[in-house]
C-alpha cells in the first residue's frame, strides 16, 4: 500500500513540474514549487516506510520547515526586492 502512495505522489509531482515549467506568471511557479515541496515531504516519509526505515521522518520534518521558509522568502523578495537589509538609499557608505 505504500507503493500505491509513492506512485501517486510521483505522478502528482510530475504534473506539478509541468505547471512549474509552463506557468504563465511568477506566482504560478511559486505555487507549483510550494506544492512540489509538500509532496516531497510526503514522498520522503512514504519511502521511509516502504524501505522499513521510518527514521527518515526527521529529514521529512526538516524539509517541511525549509519549504515553508523558502516560499515566504521568495514572495517577500519579489514584493520588496530585498530580504530584510536596508534599501540602498539608507545605507551608509
Amino acid at each position: 500500500m505504500f507503493l500505491v502512495a509513492a506512485v501517486a505522489l510521483l505522478i502528482a509531482m510530475a504534473l506539478a513540474l509541468i505547471r512549474l515549467f509552463i506557468g504563465p506568471s511568477l506566482y504560478d511557479r511559486v505555487l507549483a514549487v510550494n506544492v512540489f515541496g509538500t509532496k516531497t515531504v510526503l514522498l520522503i516519509g512514504v519511502v521511509g516506510f516502504l524501505t522499513g526505515r521510518p527514521d527518515w521522518l526527521d529529514i521529512s520534518l526538516l524539509y517541511a520547515l525549509i519549504n515553508f521558509i523558502g516560499t515566504l522568502a521568495i514572495l517577500k523578495f519579489f514584493r520588496y526586492r530585498r530580504l530584510g537589509d536596508r534599501p540602498p538609499s539608507e545605507q551608509r557608505p
Binding site: M13, A16, R19, Y27, D28, A32, N34, T38, L72
Partner: protein, 113 residues
C-alpha cells in the same frame, strides 16, 4: 482482528489521500486561472497530506514514529494555508486580476475593488 481492522483503516486513509493528491495536481495543471489553480493546489496541503499522514500513523502503531508523524501533520496543517494565503496576497498586491465572466452590464467600469 484489531490488526486487520487497523490495516483496512490505514489502507482507506492512504488510498483516499493519494487520490486527493493526484486530483489536486490535475487541477493545478488544468484549471484556467491563477486563483483557481491556487484553490486546487491548496487541497494538497490539508486534505491529501493529512489523510496520508493519518494512514501512516495508524500503520506505525504507538511509538516515537507516530509522534513525529503527528508533528509533521500539525506543521503542514498550519503552514500550508499560510503559504497559500501569502501567495494569493502577493499576487493580488502585484496586480494579478482574476479572470471573470464577461458580464459588462453587471460590472460597470470603476467598480472593481
Amino acid at each position: 482482528m484489531i490488526g486487520t481492522a487497523a490495516d483496512i483503516a490505514s489502507w482507506l486513509f492512504i488510498v483516499s489521500g493519494s487520490a486527493g493528491i493526484v486530483i489536486s495536481a490535475l487541477g493545478l495543471l488544468r484549471l484556467p486561472d491563477f486563483y483557481t489553480r491556487l484553490h486546487a493546489g491548496g487541497v494538497t496541503d490539508t486534505f491529501g497530506a493529512e489523510l496520508l499522514i493519518i494512514g501512516l500513523a495508524i500503520q506505525s502503531g504507538v511509538s516515537l514514529i507516530t509522534a513525529k508523524l503527528l508533528i509533521i501533520g500539525l506543521f503542514l496543517f498550519f503552514t500550508g494555508p499560510t503559504a497559500t494565503h501569502a501567495t494569493a496576497n502577493a499576487a493580488w498586491v502585484a496586480g494579478l486580476k482574476p479572470r471573470l465572466a464577461e458580464r459588462p452590464d453587471e460590472r460597470p467600469d470603476g467598480d472593481n475593488p
